[in-house]
């Protein structure tokens, strides 16, 4: 175990020297509207699972990191044009996204997504289901035969269920559970579905060194159990 940490640290260090200067500050792009993954806390700072994870990864990779928020819909175009260096925004690894950007190894298990609805007998197969646009959940619904309504923010998908526009919303279970707990009208219904290849950090395809550094840091966190502790602390889902 200790050896592994040492070797990853050494790897990170040499990689760092090879790249010295070109990434003295790594800008971490996130959405800031998807608790518990990432959200804006009372002080106006980015907080949540990915904030803690990202800060720890940067410490392990010996990088100085800075957090920026960006609209979900333009989060990939702004990455490839270089406005920030990573996407760390609860983004699941999919083949479609892989055509445009690279991912680190996944830092969560393939996420269980769940349906949230007002009534237990909501029609999940043929009804109207809300999902955030450009998400794996949205493409899942589109293929399932139910009618998909898309919204730009997660908040609006839940609001659509509350005002009757949609029968249910499909999103990450970790996002929906606190909402179901705090709102008596809403409940998780039906079976969870496993979609995607887990959540990873997105990087430009040309940025292979930075990707390898973060992958090494994630692997070291997986190996010493700190990643599992973080996943449990924030209620993200299955551990590794």
């Amino acid at each position: 175990m200790k050896n592994l940490i040492l070797s990853t640290a050494a790897l990170a260090l040499t990689a760092g020297m090879a790249l010295a200067g070109s990434h003295s500050v790594v800008r971490m792009g996130t959405e800031g509207a998807y608790p518990p993954y990432n959200f804006i806390d009372d002080n106006g700072e980015v907080a949540g699972f990915e904030r803690e994870l990202g800060d720890e990864l940067c410490a392990r990779a010996e990088l100085t990191c800075e957090w920026v928020t960006n609209d979900w819909d333009s989060i990939i175009p702004n990455l490839v044009s270089g406005n920030y260096d990573t996407i760390i925004a609860g983004m699941s690894i999919t083949d479609e996204r892989k055509e445009k950007i690279d991912f680190t190894t996944n830092y969560t298990q393939p996420d269980p997504s769940a349906f949230l609805a007002m009534s237990a007998d909501a029609d999940l197969k043929g009804g109207v289901i809300a999902a955030q646009s450009n998400t794996i959940q949205a493409s899942y619904i589109a293929e399932s035969g139910a009618t998909l309504v898309e919204f730009a923010t997660p908040e609006e998908t839940v609001a659509a269920v509350k005002n009757g526009e949609a029968d249910a919303v499909l999103a990450d279970k970790a996002y929906l559970e606190p909402i179901a707990d705090s709102d008596a009208d809403l409940a998780i219904v039906g079976e969870s579905v496993l979609i995607g290849g887990g959540v990873g950090m997105g990087l430009r395809k040309s940025d292979t060194e930075l990707r390898d550094k973060f992958t090494a840091a994630i692997d070291s966190m997986k190996a010493d159990g700190t990643l599992n502790a973080l996943i449990e602390k924030h209620g993200i889902g299955e551990t590794f």
């Binding site: 509207a33 804006i40 806390d41 490839v80 270089g82 923010t153």
Partner: protein
């Protein structure tokens, strides 16, 4: 903010509100009002000068210059704002970085376009990757001002182009008869008289510009609509000391009041300006003023 804010759960409504409305997040919201107002204050004169330049180019006797002016007006007016903001901003940013790259890193051998990626040497980044966050924000703000100015400049150019043609021909002919050259006629006769024709159109543009500021978030600038949506959204107690339901309605109501008050103030200022501009003009408005005074 206040001493008693350490345990919000125990507070009664008034104190809870006082604490809630002074969180760091709300400070960001209040600051964004200043951001929007500054943006308007900077963009309006810049857009007007773009418009003036565009109109002058469009009525130029030199054919390429006239084509350029007319092309600018036609193209920018025809493209939807949202498409312009998504595409043009990234393109402008890349153009600046590409130009800097060519000058600063001539020895760079890797291609700049690698698949989807746009890669320039780190010294050519705008702003530099090492720059603090506020410089990035200032840069984003400057890009926003330029983009807004180009879009609204095209509309303003069209308004001014029309206004310049609305000035009675007889005025210009009289100027020529007095021996003024083209330049003198333009600056001394045409320009002072055209504003009265341009003001209704420019006033409309100003009103539209006020309401177009939510496009700012597309450029990564956190404007008032972004914050209203973020702050008003449902907050569960796990993620905040101040849990509440869906309060977006109240936040948007506050924005409604802000926008209405702001447009009302603008209308009053524009009316005043209109009265000033019509004074002594050979228009129905100017004639009405003359009769009241006589």
């Amino acid at each position: 903010m206040f001493d008693f804010c350490t345990d919000p759960d125990s507070l009664e409504t008034f104190r809870w509100m006082a604490c809630y409305l002074t969180t760091g997040k709300h400070m960001g919201f209040y600051q964004s009002f200043a951001t929007v107002l500054i943006l308007l204050a900077v963009t309006a004169p810049v857009a007007l000068s773009f418009g003036f330049g565009g109109a002058m180019a469009a009525r130029s006797r030199i054919a390429p210059l006239s084509w350029f002016g007319k092309g600018y007006i036609a193209i920018v007016r025809g493209v939807p704002d949202i498409a312009f903001f998504l595409f043009f901003v990234i393109a402008l940013d890349q153009l600046i970085e590409w130009a800097r790259h060519k000058v600063i890193c001539p020895d760079w051998t890797d291609p700049i376009r690698q698949g989807n990626d746009f890669v320039v040497c780190s010294a050519a980044k705008m702003p530099l990757g090492t720059a603090p966050q506020w410089i990035h924000e200032m840069y984003g703000f400057a890009i926003a001002v330029i983009t807004f100015s180009i879009v609204f400049g095209a509309f303003a150019a069209n308004v001014l182009f029309g206004a310049m043609r609305a000035v009675p021909k007889a005025q210009l002919e009289t100027a020529a008869a007095y021996g003024m050259n083209d330049r003198q006629t333009f600056w001394r006769i045409l320009v002072p008289q055209m504003w009265v024709y341009a003001l209704p159109g420019l006033g409309n543009l100003w009103m539209v510009l006020i309401k177009a500021t939510p496009l700012l978030f597309l450029l990564g600038i956190e404007d008032i609509v972004y914050w209203a949506r973020e702050l008003g959204g449902t907050k569960t107690e796990r993620f905040t000391d101040y849990p509440h339901g869906d309060w977006r309605m109240w936040y948007f109501l506050a924005l409604l009041v802000f926008y209405l008050a702001f447009t009302r103030v603008s209308e009053m200022a524009l009316d005043k300006l209109m009265r000033k501009l019509t004074h002594g003009q050979a228009t129905t408005g100017g004639e009405a003023q003359r009769r009241v005074e006589a």
